[in-house]
């Protein structure tokens, strides 16, 4: 793992059809050198099909896949030199840890001495040196996952592909391995492409996330940018939770507009350079529950709304409230618990407030 230089991958208008069913529809995406990209989407969104097309197990119906500018679409999987961590790991049950990790080197005809050195380095990288002679079934889930990683990295692959690498692990171990995977990525400096349906995993590990739904690429960008500025209702809803408020655009001007819904007018501020929607058009706002505050008596905010608590849940870190408002229907709000001695009761009247920058206009999803 010496010359740790990542490679760049590009997908150009890649489609995969099964009969009349489009599993992937004209997806174009660039993955930069050394980048950690996550393909995120619900099941059936086409994310795994894309990964399998990159790996060479699925032949795209149309489009091409390029590695550093060279077309690799027709290459069979064994010629691509991509490391892959499979869902459930796919460790060979009849081989020990060492034999599993040495497998890619063996099929490449490396001498025994070269093999041994590389295998040892790879096992050290994932801190499994002392388990070398065990069989996969004698290892815990987390250890198996690390063997799979070592096996995928030992032959200096051009890319590392991860298919739901953490889905088989329990919640606590998953959090630990997320950090480890991230650290590993920094250490080896290779390009990683990860597939998951777990939004937390995507947010915590990736340099960039590509969100897919029904075979289409919906939006991609850095985790923070995606979370803060979702462009569609689907993205806002899939990545975290959101309230959706709709209404008519009024008072449109550079830097903001107002959304009219019945008697209420909501102030919306836009970041620099984002064009406001035209007056009179319908618009949909996404408002994150944690961006809503409970206003004490006498305090004001850009937007204020009266309502009553319908139900609540205590989550340790805070409260999750459902609040019925006359103007906008039911609103969800999350409050940190430590800040005040807030004691919700059913029917408790509350005043909600939020900043004009908190709400983000999003597009309704195409049917």
């Amino acid at each position: 793992m010496s010359d740790a230089r990542g490679h760049a991958l590009s997908l150009r208008e890649v489609s995969k059809h099964y009969g009349s069913f489009a599993a992937v529809e004209r997806v174009s995406l660039e993955v930069g050198q050394g980048e950690f990209l996550t393909l995120l989407g619900p099941s059936g969104s086409g994310k795994t099909t894309i990964l399998m097309a990159v790996a060479g197990f699925v032949t795209p119906t149309a489009g091409s896949i390029l590695l550093d500018g060279a077309d690799i679409t027709p290459l069979p999987p064994e010629k691509r030199n991509f490391g892959m961590v499979f869902q459930g790991y796919a460790l060979f049950p009849h081989m020990t840890v060492v034999e599993n990790v040495a497998f890619p080197l063996r099929v490449r005809g490396l001498s025994r001495a070269d093999r041994d050195a590389k295998v040892r380095a790879a096992l050290d990288l994932v801190q499994l040196g002392q388990f070398a002679d065990r069989l996969p079934k004698q290892l815990s889930g987390g250890q198996q996952q690390r063997v799979a990683l070592a096996r995928a990295l030992v032959f200096d692959p051009n890319l590392l592909l991860l298919d739901e690498p953490l889905s088989a692990l329990d919640k606590k171990l998953r959090a630990e391995l997320q950090e480890e995977l991230k650290a590993l990525h920094r250490r080896v400096g290779r390009t990683f492409i990860n597939v998951t349906h777990d939004q937390e995993e995507a947010l915590s590990m990736s340099d960039r996330i590509a969100i897919l739904n029904h075979g289409k690429l919906i939006q991609h960008g850095a985790p923070g940018a995606l979370y803060e500025r979702p462009r569609t209702r689907f993205v806002a809803d899939f990545l975290g939770k959101s309230n959706f408020l709709d209404g008519t655009v009024r008072d449109s001007r550079p830097g903001g507009f107002a959304l009219e819904n019945g008697a209420s007018r909501l102030a919306v501020a836009l970041p620099d350079g984002e064009a406001p929607p035209a007056d009179g058009t319908r618009s949909l706002l996404s408002l994150r529950p944690e961006k809503i505050d409970l206003l004490p008596e006498g305090q004001s905010a850009d937007n204020v709304l009266e309502g009553r608590v319908v139900s609540w849940a205590y989550l340790g870190t805070g409260f999750s409230l459902r609040i019925a408002t006359e103007a906008l229907g039911e609103i969800r709000a999350n409050l940190p618990a430590w800040r005040s001695a807030f004691a919700p009761t059913e029917g408790l009247p509350v005043r909600l407030g939020w900043d004009a920058r908190a709400a983000v206009p999003v597009a309704e999803d195409a049917p």
């Binding site: 197990f57 699925v58 032949t59």
Partner: protein
């Protein structure tokens, strides 16, 4: 995942060749049975059903078919009764206690029938069972028990033992539980076992060669004599009838299993 892993040309070629080797020799009998010639050959000037007519009008062939059929039915009744009860008993009593019986049940499948046949030849003499309908029924019935035990045990493996306990808990006796709770659930398994036990008896030759001679002359025995003495197209006609009959039984089994699964 398409294109993930497919057998190579060598593997696929060998598989096709093997399938042909398994199936074609059996299929070739059909045109031979329909030959218009008087000797074993393919039809030359057209097909003819004369050899089927010969078989179906011959008192010898019909007598053997009838004898084989009645023996197989009687032997199947014996196998199914003993085998089903045994499988249920083994299922309900713990594994360890019935280990010996389970091993015993495998012996007829493992030990060559020639060994059993010469044993019976000697054993049936003093009992007066040689060349008797009853003797052949016992021999076939006893060796058919394992088939029934296996299919019924397979059916029982998916049967929740708590249902039996619930029935007993509500006051049902052992025989009521058997009749109303257990047997209806495992009927498809029993039927499969019955078909296999029937085919086992219907096709059995080695024992018959030793324990039957003149009065009991089953269909396999007559085919055996035919192959060794006069190879004529009537033999092919008999073979075709046998194949059709076996296929019919297997299709019945399949249909029944599908119905019970679906």
């Amino acid at each position: 995942m398409d294109g993930t892993y497919r057998p190579g040309t060598v593997g696929r070629g060998l598989a096709w060749a093997t399938a042909a080797y398994l199936v074609l020799p059996i299929l070739i009998i059909l045109p031979v049975a329909l030959t218009d010639q008087r000797y074993l050959s393919l039809p030359e000037d057209g097909i003819s059903f004369q050899h089927f007519r010969t078989v179906l009008t011959s008192p010898e062939w019909l007598g053997s078919i009838w004898q084989s059929f009645t023996i197989a039915v009687a032997a199947t009744v014996l196998s199914v009764t003993a085998g089903t009860l045994c499988a249920i008993g083994c299922w309900r009593i713990s594994r360890r206690a019935t280990e010996l019986i389970r091993v015993l049940m495998l012996l007829p499948l493992i030990i060559p029938s020639i060994v059993y046949a010469i044993g019976l030849y000697r054993y049936f003499g003093p009992l007066g069972l040689l060349d008797r309908f009853l003797g052949v029924v016992i021999a076939h019935g006893v060796t058919g028990i394992p088939y029934v035990v296996i299919t019924v045990s397979t059916a029982l493996a998916t049967f929740d033992p708590r249902l039996e306990q619930a029935a007993r808990g509500m006051g049902a006796s052992l025989s009521q539980t058997l009749r109303w709770v257990i047997l209806p659930r495992i009927a498809p398994g029993i039927f499969s076992g019955a078909i296999f036990a029937f085919i086992h008896s219907w096709d059995e030759l080695v024992m018959v060669l030793f324990i039957a001679s003149r009065d009991v002359f089953t269909l396999p025995r007559r085919i055996w004599d035919g192959i060794n003495e006069n190879l004529d197209p009537a033999m092919a006609a008999v073979a075709v009838l046998l194949i059709l009959f076996t296929l019919l039984l297997l299709m019945a089994d399949r249909a029944l299993r599908r119905r019970s699964e679906g």
